[in-house]
């Protein structure tokens, strides 16, 4: 049986998109709050919400771009793709929390 192995190239693509989504979300949040939301001073609740938002945006991005069928055809589930989208957000938010404390 031909097995599909997970590819680091595909992982990098999704991780990069996740990072850009997280960065964009943080910048938009900062702009919308009129600069009162300080991007480098995170709260735990805000971080959790941000990661959830990035995951939701990642899922929407996959659906709108119709890439979910392509990735599934390549053996990559939507759940795994969304996990790769949110991984940079989770890592960055954790790093920020650790750095501030």
């Amino acid at each position: 049986m031909k097995r599909i192995r997970f590819d680091s190239h595909l992982a990098r693509i999704l991780l990069r998109r996740g990072f850009l989504l997280w960065l964009g979300t943080r910048v938009i949040l900062w702009l919308v709050s009129g600069g009162t939301f300080t991007p480098i001073v995170p709260l735990v609740q805000t971080s959790i919400i941000l990661v959830a938002v990035v995951a939701a945006l990642g899922w929407i991005d996959l659906r709108l771009s119709r890439e979910h069928t392509l990735f599934e055809n390549l053996g990559v589930s939507v759940t795994l793709a969304v996990a790769l989208y949110l991984a940079p957000a989770a890592a960055a938010e954790t790093l920020l929390l650790v750095a501030v404390r």
Binding site: K2, I4, R66, E67, N73, G75
Partner: protein, 261 residues
């Protein structure tokens, strides 16, 4: 007969509309099964049930001898099923070459599929592979999707309306790729309503009508099926002593035969 993919007595209701009831479909190795029927007959719904995009209300899906209670495309893909949806498959953010290469890389080197270059050559995409799919026509995108299937070299291919809106030259390239995959041992199910491709590509015919399916046998047998000929083709059925249909692949002859029937 060994079935690669089997949908048995599948039923599906959308709201108050019973789209499918007791519909069945089989894919066998090295054969192209044409699921033919009018628009809205439930052809695409059957393929979507097979790939887990929607759940059936009744019946079951079996792939390679294993019953899939909750079929999922990514799991089936790991077992060498490839699905071409009726809408775009390709990512709009990567060039065709990059997507073909990604498919190849995910498979590893021992896949047995053709290389990206060979697949592009075979489907007349050599000049187009460095473009984004958004810069391609519908026919070119369809050929690029088939090129992915060639690189993937699946054991089972489900293609939803692969000939829709295609120019004859594009359609011939798609038909050639399907025949090539079938020769490699792939079990193929295609849906559609175009009679030309029914005669030109299919080895077996299943008629999707009134929410259920009817297996008609080979193309020649389908052409002698009086109800199919009367209700779908709109021509008189061939008699048993009449000349058989042209060999699969002879599309121009098939055109003439349908026109003259």
């Amino acid at each position: 007969m060994r079935y690669l993919l089997e949908l048995d007595s599948v039923g599906k209701r959308f709201g108050g509309n019973q789209v499918l009831h007791a519909a069945s479909l089989w894919a066998t190795p090295s054969a192209v099964t044409y699921l033919v029927g009018r628009g809205g007959a439930g052809k695409s719904t059957m393929l979507r049930i097979a790939t887990g995009a929607i759940a059936a209300d009744s019946g079951y899906v079996r792939f390679d001898g294993t019953t899939c209670f909750r079929p999922r495309l990514h799991r089936l893909a790991r077992r060498s099923l490839f699905y071409l949806p009726d809408r775009d498959l390709l990512s709009r953010r990567m060039t065709v070459r990059r997507q073909l290469a990604l498919t190849r890389r995910l498979l590893g080197l021992s896949s047995g599929g053709v290389s990206e270059t060979e697949a592009a050559d075979q489907l007349g995409l050599t000049e187009l592979v460095d473009r984004l799919p958004g810069a391609l026509s519908e026919g070119e995108r369809r050929r690029a999707e088939l090129a992915m299937a060639l690189v993937r070299n699946p054991r089972c291919l489900l293609a939803d309306e692969p000939f829709r809106h295609l120019a004859p030259t594009d359609a011939e390239a798609v038909a050639g790729a399907l025949r090539f995959l079938a020769r490699q041992g792939c079990g193929i199910v295609i849906t559609g309503h175009e009679v030309t491709w029914l005669f030109g590509v299919a080895d077996r015919v299943t008629w999707c009508t009134s929410g259920t399916t009817q297996y008609l046998g080979t193309v020649a047998e389908a052409r002698r099926h009086w109800r199919f000929c009367r209700d779908y083709l709109g021509v008189r059925p061939l008699e048993a002593n009449e000349r058989d249909l042209p060999a699969a692949g002879d599309l121009r002859q098939a055109y003439k035969d349908v026109d003259h029937a």
